[in-house]
């Protein structure tokens, strides 16, 4: 079985972010990068299917700037067979393909001559939270899409999934090829050790530019974006919160409830 995993590299969620001078992107000079957590679930699921079935190949597809190479190395160390990196470093102002439509167009073009039975993507990338690239890719490639999957069973021709829906779960099936997105709970991603990561440095990455996959950079970046960032700001500061002093838990509780009622007016 040929499995494609769509992976995005995102700023490490632990670290603060700075807004760039342009005010429409973040300053990535000191950014520490990581694999989008939902894409770790996708990588793990692809590897589990491969291990269970044997005779399978896992191909990673990622769109991003130069430093994505780091994330690819981690994916290789996890066990991915091949990686395709479409380098979209054409326009600093549109960091990391914040626009899902252009990203999806790039992915669909890159997949033109990659055979696949199943595509696994994350439900969302935790930098832009767009929940959109998988739907766009599925639409362009005319594939059934099953989102927020917590469990799957795949035969050579069909995929059966349990997915999270509002208020519960659904069991659904689709014919292959299909695209699914992952939800927490589907698996526990493996952590490759340092040695495996070092060894993965030797692996070759199939790096391509937009022109290589038949796309005109003119139509990408800010030009092709369907959601254009006009400005960025930090959320309003909560200020230094009030520390509630009191001689006992009961007294603190009393003061809190009074503040919630009189000052904050929320109860």
């Amino acid at each position: 079985m040929n499995i494609v995993v769509l992976m995005k590299q995102v700023p490490d969620t632990e670290a603060p972010v700075e807004i760039a001078e342009s005010n429409v992107a973040i300053d990535t000079e000191d950014t520490k990068w990581a694999i989008n957590p939902y894409d770790e679930f996708s990588l793990e699921e692809a590897l589990l299917i491969k291990e269970a079935k044997g005779d399978s190949k896992v191909t990673l597809v990622t769109v991003g700037p130069d430093h994505v190479a780091e994330a690819i190395r981690v994916a290789y160390a996890m066990g991915v067979d091949e990686a395709i990196h479409i380098n979209d470093e054409i326009d600093d102002e549109v960091y990391g393909a914040v626009d899902p439509h252009t990203t999806a167009a790039i992915i669909a073009a890159a997949l033109k001559d990659v055979p696949f039975d199943l595509i696994i993507a994350g439900q969302r990338a935790v930098d832009d939270d767009s929940y959109l690239v998988p739907a766009l890719v599925a639409n362009k490639l005319n594939l059934p899409i099953i989102s927020l999957v917590t469990k799957q069973e795949t035969t050579d021709t069909e995929i059966n999934c349990v997915q999270s829906i509002d208020g519960g779960t659904a069991v659904v099936k689709a014919a292959l090829p299909a695209l699914i997105t992952t939800q927490k709970g589907i698996n526990e991603p493996r952590y490759p050790n340092f040695r495996a990561i070092m060894k993965a440095k030797k692996k070759k990455v199939d790096e391509r530019e937009l022109e290589d996959i038949g796309l005109d950079p003119e139509n990408f970046g800010i030009n092709g974006a369907k959601v254009k960032i006009r400005s960025m700001e930090f959320p309003p500061e909560r200020g230094q919160g009030k520390i509630i002093e009191g001689s006992s838990p009961a007294e603190k509780a009393k003061i809190l409830v009074n503040l919630l009622k009189e000052e904050a007016s929320v109860i």
């Binding site: 972010v17 959109l132 927020l148 917590t150 999270s164 829906i165 254009k228 400005s231 919160g241 503040l259």
Partner: protein
């Protein structure tokens, strides 16, 4: 010519989701500012009766699509029917509640119509007759103002952010012809819990517990939540320990919530947790470590043992009643 604002309203267990009414209220304000009409869309098995209620929130026209195969979670079928409705009515913009269904449906429509979509919006306004949105990026660390491009602009709104306001609309109900189209995902079984539990993303009050709960007994948090008329949430640590279901998890790999009041009990305040609750109106943190990170994000902080403080808060709130 594009005209007016459309809102897709979701019925759940026979009543409209709160977030759908919030979307209608915002949609009405946007329609008024354009001087145009508000169209509501309701899809499901038997929806024309309940749909009438939407006139109360300013819907001028209520398009109902009735078919057993549109009931519940049917992203494929609903997408096919909704695209027909959008093509027919040609609204300038379409709003959805950011439920799982709303996010999936809007994403599929965005793909088919090749138009822009902003998810989980915190604010919406109109400039040059086009929709502009405010939404969070990078796990709530940044708020961006974005221009949505395309002939029909799409947006989902984060639950609990917009007010519900009543208004008068003509409320003309129009049943549309339903063509389910090509369906490439087959539903085998749908298990939806019909409980009195308030859905976390719609709760006005959330009491969340973390690793400090030290076991599956969350009764003190449940009592406080019940007294407030709210719901119980959890940190990832509490979920991973198996004390709470995944559906209770708040954060980057859980739900994003925006209640009036969020009470974090024994939660350290990791960025990934903050990402799920930072847009709450008021945040209270209870932690016995005075240096806990969570105090940096809270409006009111109590440094003490949660097992003593939480029951005391419950008692104090009961006294108010």
């Amino acid at each position: 010519m594009a005209q007016g604002v459309m809102v897709v309203a979701e019925l759940f267990n026979g009543s409209f989701k709160k977030v759908s009414l919030e979307a209608l209220s915002k949609g009405k304000a946007l329609a008024d500012s354009l001087g145009e009409s508000l169209v509501a869309v309701v899809m499901g098995a038997a929806v024309s009766e309940p749909a009438k209620e939407l006139a109360k929130y300013g819907a001028d026209l209520i398009v109902v699509a009735q078919d057993a195969d549109l009931e519940g979670y049917r992203p494929c079928q609903q997408h096919n029917v909704l695209v027909d409705i959008i093509n027919d009515k040609a609204p300038r913009m379409v709003l959805f509640g950011a439920t799982r269904q709303g996010k999936e449906l809007s994403a599929n429509v965005s793909a088919t119509l090749d138009v822009g979509l902003a998810q989980e919006c915190l604010d919406l306004f109109i400039e040059d007759q086009k929709l502009v949105a405010k939404r969070t990026l990078f796990g709530g660390k940044i708020i961006a103002t974005v221009d949505i491009e395309g002939d029909t602009q799409l947006a989902t709104i984060r639950p609990n952010v917009f007010e519900i306001t009543e208004a008068t609309g003509a409320g003309v109900v129009e049943e549309c012809a339903v063509n389910l189209g090509t369906v490439n995902v087959t539903l085998i079984e749908e298990k939806v819990e019909v409980s009195s539990k308030i859905e976390l993303t719609e709760a006005d009050y959330i009491v969340s517990g973390g690793r400090a709960m030290d076991g599956p007994d969350f009764s003190i948090l449940e009592n406080l939540a019940a007294t407030l008329g709210g719901a119980v949430g959890a940190s990832r640590n509490a979920v991973d320990a198996g004390w709470r279901p995944q559906t209770d998890q708040v954060g980057q790999t859980g739900k994003v919530v925006s209640p009036k009041l969020y009470i974090a009990c024994g939660i350290s305040g990791a960025m990934q947790h903050i990402a799920g609750m930072s847009t709450s109106d008021v945040i209270v943190a209870i932690n016995n470590d005075p240096d806990a990170l969570i105090f940096k994000t809270s409006d009111y902080s109590i440094v003490d043992d949660l097992f003593d403080v939480v029951p005391a808060i419950t008692e104090e709130i009961k006294k108010l009643a």
